[in-house]
């Protein structure tokens, strides 16, 4: 909404500098996005073209004798086609600084010789004055402009660009903003008189209005003006509309727009002679009914759309746009002027469905009060008589089905002010603030009042609305600053939130970088994963996606994090260790989808940046499995990896991740990506290792575990004894199984695998696993004999369980 001060000041005196006023409005809830001024044309004045004659040397140029008002006439060369003698124009003398259209810079205007004639100044277009881009023709000022007046006084202005919240539709009008300024600066608001001379015939005799659907049209008022002449509006009216950003059309349409900008009430003028039986019927459209709007688009309507019709046909869509069939034309002489109140939500729905968010619908949708309709109607009728002539019928037509219902008043008490704001406010002070906003009040007690929401405000319905009105004008700085003194609720630590935070910290500590990506992916991205990862579940889609690459709620984090990896490999060198915690979406047959918390991670590239220590290996499966095991260990969880098969992964290089001792219940997967999958993401240069953990399963396992209470183990005072043992086992015996068997033996504290060997000296189909085993007792120093006995027991058990033999 654009508010020119030149127009606004008709209703309220502006007593503050523009920036200060803008600040006050913004603090009070009417946000001013921009303040700008037009003008600063020092040395430019209103000039008068006394005579013109053709340029002797150029057909397109005119020589103009211009009276600058304060001296003898000067001769000016003008190239504009619309220049003519008798015009008041914008005259710039040599020496003033103006935009040079040829250089695009502001430059000092110099006397110039144009095709052999000296031009002693310039007649300006809008472009040279930086009002608009328009430079085809010069600006022609109104005839009553006084010659010699500084141009700033005629064309200069200051504008507020408002960014309104939806509740303050009233400030889509000059009066609305004026009332706000009046309250903020203590100035009186001048509301225009709306009376006009009425002729003998009653409006209700010249036309008739029926509301068939009063739920959608709360009030319909109309006036009738006969014998008008359609033509251009007077200059002042056109000028105001242009300054406010609207295009003048003709006197009648301009008046309806003017009153809309003045009072906030949209109006519509029908050519009364096109209305059959001069009978307006406000009714729902029939399903499938077709109607051609003013913009010559045929629209198909439903019973949810409200029409303005006559007995034979529709003539407008209520509160949205009029019809081509009843439009004001140059030959229109009799008018039906409509000022109605339409149901805001229905109006908004219709405008949205038809994609016709007009100036009118933007006002109706925010809810206009029925009391406003007749006031604006009278104002518009008055201005039409003034600008288009004719005679106005006596009175107005006013169909107001619920007109006898009183407007509910809203109470306000000092007690509630204190309860909500936490400060003591005198009721008298609250009352004077409300009154300054035009809200009438009545005391109902020493500490209470009742307020009448004024006809221009539709957003005041409850006591809290009044409290806001009071405090926004007083200013929030007056509210004291206190700390919460109500009881602190029991702290509800959320187990999943805690788990996620711990896992993030653990992964970061293990060297992984956290990423966060979009949860919407494209179906193509999921397809790249092979058919393995969406587990046969159907996909959840977005009905109105912003792009085809973002229309599925991801069932896995894999595609996202592989894209993140691919992006980074395209932009950065080095190895990558990335992870993300996010949600995977699994549709349910009914209601909201299951949102599964998932952790996913990926590694790829050199283990270290290029370094002088010659450590140049690339990250592999064991880097990620070691990182993951370390991170889980930090959370008190021993991870167990067991061989698995999955289409997304390289055959034989994939494992289920489980919590040790619960191998049957995998909580995730880890593996080297299948080369085809890696290639699909342009990641085929080096192995890509990926893991995904289901955190709900992890949480369930962790919650079920009593480890916390029995976590502490006392420290033995006695020394440990180490033995190295190389065991030859079949190649398919998992190393983790051997280790578990060793650690199960009494006195064994820990077994670390330090060598894996296959080849010479080890039988075909077997491999040697060398463990460093640490023995320790809690109650004594172990003797060599103790250890020997333990080793013997251990080798026997290993032989029995996995056929292991001790290597020489």
């Amino acid at each position: 909404m654009l508010i020119p001060f030149s127009w606004l000041s008709q209703y309220v005196d502006i007593t503050l500098p523009a920036d200060e006023l803008a600040h006050r409005l913004t603090m009070g809830g009417i946000e001013v996005g921009d303040v700008f001024t037009r003008g600063g044309w020092e040395g430019c004045v209103v000039g008068y073209v006394r005579a013109t004659r053709p340029h002797p040397n150029a057909d397109t140029l005119t020589l103009c004798e211009v009276d600058p008002g304060d001296g003898p006439p000067v001769e000016v060369v003008c190239g504009a086609p619309n220049v003519a003698s008798g015009q008041k124009i914008c005259f710039a003398r040599p020496g003033v600084t103006l935009l040079n259209m040829h250089t695009g810079r502001r430059e000092e205007l110099k006397p110039a010789t144009i095709r052999g004639v000296v031009s002693e100044g310039m007649i300006c277009s809008e472009a040279e004055l930086e009002i608009s881009e328009e430079h085809e023709g010069i600006i022609v000022l109104p005839d009553d402009a006084e010659v010699g007046t500084p141009l700033d006084d005629v064309l200069g202005d200051t504008f507020l660009e408002l960014e309104l919240t939806p509740n303050r539709g009233d400030c889509l009008s000059m009066l609305g903003v004026a009332r706000e300024i009046g309250a903020l600066t203590g100035q009186q608001v001048r509301v225009p008189d709306v009376s006009y001379r009425e002729s003998g015939t009653a409006a209700s005799e010249l036309a008739r209005v029926s509301i068939a659907d009063p739920d959608l049209c709360l009030r319909y008022t109309a006036s009738v003006v006969t014998g008008i002449s359609i033509g251009p509006s007077p200059h002042w009216l056109q000028d105001r509309l242009i300054r406010a950003g609207l295009r003048p059309i003709n006197n009648v349409v301009d008046v309806t727009n003017y009153v809309m900008l003045e009072f906030n009430q949209p109006l519509h003028a029908f050519d009364l002679d096109t209305v059959t039986d001069r009978h307006v019927v406000v009714r729902r459209a029939a399903d499938g009914e077709k109607f051609t709007t003013l913009d010559d688009v045929e629209r198909t309507l439903t019973a949810d759309n409200l029409l303005i019709a006559d007995p034979t046909q529709a003539i407008g869509i209520g509160g949205v746009m009029g019809g081509a069939n009843s439009e004001i034309t140059a030959s229109t002489t009799n008018l039906l002027l409509e000022s109605a109140t339409f149901h805001n939500l229905n109006n908004r729905r219709t405008a949205t469905e038809l994609n016709l968010r007009t100036e009118a619908s933007q006002r109706f949708e925010k809810g206009l009060r029925p009391e406003l309709a007749p006031i604006a109607l009278r104002r518009a009728t008055q201005l039409i008589l003034e600008t288009a002539g004719g005679e106005a019928a006596a009175g107005i037509i006013d169909v107001f089905p619920d007109g006898d219902k009183a407007v509910a008043s809203v109470p306000l008490t000092v007690q509630r002010l204190r309860q909500v704001l936490g400060m003591d406010l005198d009721i008298g002070r609250a009352e004077s603030v409300l009154n300054s906003l035009g809200i009438a009040t009545k005391r109902t007690g020493s500490d209470s009042l009742e307020a009448e929401p004024p006809y221009w405000r539709s957003d005041i319905a409850i006591e809290e609305d009044l409290i806001e009105e009071v405090i926004r004008i007083i200013g929030y700085d007056e509210v004291p600053t206190t700390m919460l003194s109500s009881p602190i609720p029991y702290h509800r630590g959320d187990a999943m939130t805690t788990l996620k935070d711990r896992l993030r910290d653990a992964l970061v500590a293990a060297g992984m970088q956290e990423t966060i990506s979009y949860p919407l992916v494209g179906p193509d991205e999921l397809a790249k994963l092979g058919n393995g990862y969406d587990e046969g579940e159907s996909l959840l889609r977005v009905a109105n996606p912003m792009s085809a690459e973002q229309d599925v709620l991801r069932p896995t984090l894999a595609a996202s994090i592989l894209n993140t990896l691919a992006y980074n490999r395209g932009h950065n060198d080095g190895g990558f260790r990335l992870f993300e915690l996010g949600r995977a979406f699994i549709p349910q047959s009914d209601g909201l989808p299951k949102e599964r918390e998932v952790a996913a991670g990926v590694m790829c590239g050199p283990r270290y940046d290029a370094n002088w220590l010659n450590d140049t290996e690339v990250l592999d499966f064991f880097d990620l499995s070691g990182t993951l095991a370390t991170a889980l260990n930090r959370m008190g969880i021993d991870a167990d990896f067991s061989s698995a098969d999955h289409a997304m992964f390289h055959p034989g290089r994939c494992a289920n991740v489980a919590i040790a001792g619960e191998q049957d219940a995998a909580i995730g997967l880890i593996g080297e990506l299948h080369p085809d999958v890696a290639a699909a993401f342009d990641l085929d240069a080096e192995p890509v290792i990926y893991f995904e953990l289901r955190l709900d399963d992890l949480l369930a396992a962790q919650l079920g575990d009593e480890f916390a209470a029995s976590r502490f183990q006392s420290l033995s005072r006695f020394p440990a004894a180490n033995r190295d043992l190389a065991l030859v086992v079949a190649a398919d015996v998992p190393a983790s199984r051997v280790r578990q068997l060793i650690e199960r033996v009494r006195l064994v504290e820990r077994a670390e695998l330090f060598d894996v060997y296959e080849g010479e000296n080890v039988p075909e189909g077997t491999r040697s696993l060398a463990f460093r085993i640490r023995f320790r007792a809690g109650d004594r120093t172990l003797t060599a004999e103790d250890v020997n006995r333990a080793v013997n027991g251990l080798t026997r058990a290993l032989e029995r369980e996995v056929g292991a033999t001790v290597r020489g």
Binding site: G29, V420, E464, E468, T482, S486, I488, Q513, F585, D609
Partner: protein, 388 residues
């Protein structure tokens, strides 16, 4: 040259010695050493001891390593060393000589002791120096570190500030029902305020032909969910992802985080809201921050406000705390919970009051760290992520 007849116990030998000369004891047999010591002791004077000490110091200077230094110590200061021998022989000296020789010998011993310590230190240092210096400018052995995403860091910082004031952290569903995302927040269907939240709807139509699910446009729906699940008092903060149907640019993302806060109890006022958010602003932006409220509109609060923090030029440095040429910077929306929201969850709005607020951690991060484009956050370029 003098001939001496010596008695040492039962043994007697004849030696020809040059008075005052130093003898390399290491070349002598044990017996010879004892005898020579005896002889020397009986022939010492203060001058001769001083000469001996000079000789010993000269030898010490030539000692090349720790082992040789030990040999030197044995030869001079050991149980059978020359100086020790002189000291031992003192009782057998003529009484008039004892004092002079004793003093001189003790002085010599102390002198040599000190010299030896010094020499050992020198030798040790020389040995370390000889090991060779490191090029300390070589890069260290690589250690891989990770970092939390900046959004996670800011969410944690903000939540910690509120947890210190008794708030709990809760999360909620990212796919939400229209009912919670809008209806329960006093934003009925068709309401113009819905324009404030352009939504991404889930492609699912229920039996009534409605499309009831959307990607939540804010974390505010948890207001109703939390209040439905418990009685007052309530104090929660709700961090999480939100989504809007919105073109992206340097200050807009369709996918972003929000941290919603809610406190409801008897007696909570706007003044408490000011105090709570003031404390937050000080914790996150620094102790000298001021806050300011202006009227704003959110359908689920009344009165509704927008909070800004001060960003004045520091006269000492001539700079602003946040690198933006504005005295006040808007941080979040807030207000007193609308009575209709309380009614909707079955709270009595005459008895209970409360406040709610909501802020974007990305914006807070952008302000704190001077990030110029919100799109950096979820592009996940490690050059960006590693800066935080």
């Amino acid at each position: 040259m003098t001939n001496w007849r010596l008695r040492a116990g039962r043994w007697s030998i004849r030696l020809t010695l040059r008075q005052g000369a130093a003898y390399n004891f290491t070349s002598l047999t044990l017996l010879q050493r004892i005898i020579v010591s005896q002889v020397l002791a009986q022939t010492q004077s203060a001058e001769s001891i001083s000469e001996l000490a000079s000789q010993a110091l000269a030898e010490l200077d030539a000692v090349p390593d720790a082992d040789s230094a030990e040999q030197w110590r044995v030869a001079w200061l050991g149980r059978r060393g020359q100086i020790t021998g002189i000291l031992r022989s003192i009782p057998q000296l003529e009484p008039e000589l004892r004092r002079e020789v004793g003093t001189a010998a003790n002085q010599a011993r102390n002198l040599l002791d000190e010299a030896l310590s010094r020499r050992i230190r020198e030798l040790a240092e020389a040995e370390l120096a000889a090991r060779g210096a490191l090029d300390v400018t070589l890069p260290g052995r690589p250690v891989v570190t990770g970092r939390l995403h900046p959004t996670t860091q800011i969410v944690r910082e903000v939540c910690a500030a509120f947890m210190a004031m008794g708030f709990s952290v809760v999360e909620g569903p990212e796919v939400e029902l229209d009912h919670y995302n809008f209806e329960m927040l006093n934003i009925p269907a068709g309401h113009p305020a819905r324009d404030m939240w352009n939504s991404l709807w889930v492609d699912y139509v229920n039996e009534d032909g409605q499309q009831p699910m959307l990607l939540r446009t804010h974390t505010s729906p948890m207001q109703a969910r939390v209040m439905e699940s418990q009685e007052p008092p309530v104090r929660v903060v709700v961090p999480g992802k939100c989504y809007r149907y919105e073109a992206t640019d340097a200050t807009h993302e369709w996918h972003f985080y929000q941290i919603e806060g809610l406190a409801v109890a008897e007696g909570i006022t706007f003044a408490d809201l000011k105090g709570t958010l003031y404390e937050f602003a000080r914790r996150v932006f620094g102790a000298d921050r001021q806050i300011r409220f202006r009227c704003d509109y959110f359908p689920f609060v009344e009165p509704g406000v927008d909070m800004s923090i001060s960003n004045f030029v520091d006269p000492a440095t001539g700079r602003r705390p946040i690198n933006r040429d504005e005295d006040w910077i808007e941080i979040m929306g807030a207000g007193m919970v609308h009575p209709r929201v309380l009614e909707g969850v079955g709270y009595d709005p005459q008895r209970y009051t409360g406040f709610a607020f909501g802020m974007g951690p990305e914006r807070i991060g952008m302000l704190k760290y001077g990030i110029d484009d919100i799109r950096h956050f979820y592009r996940n370029d490690v050059r960006f992520l590693r800066q935080f």
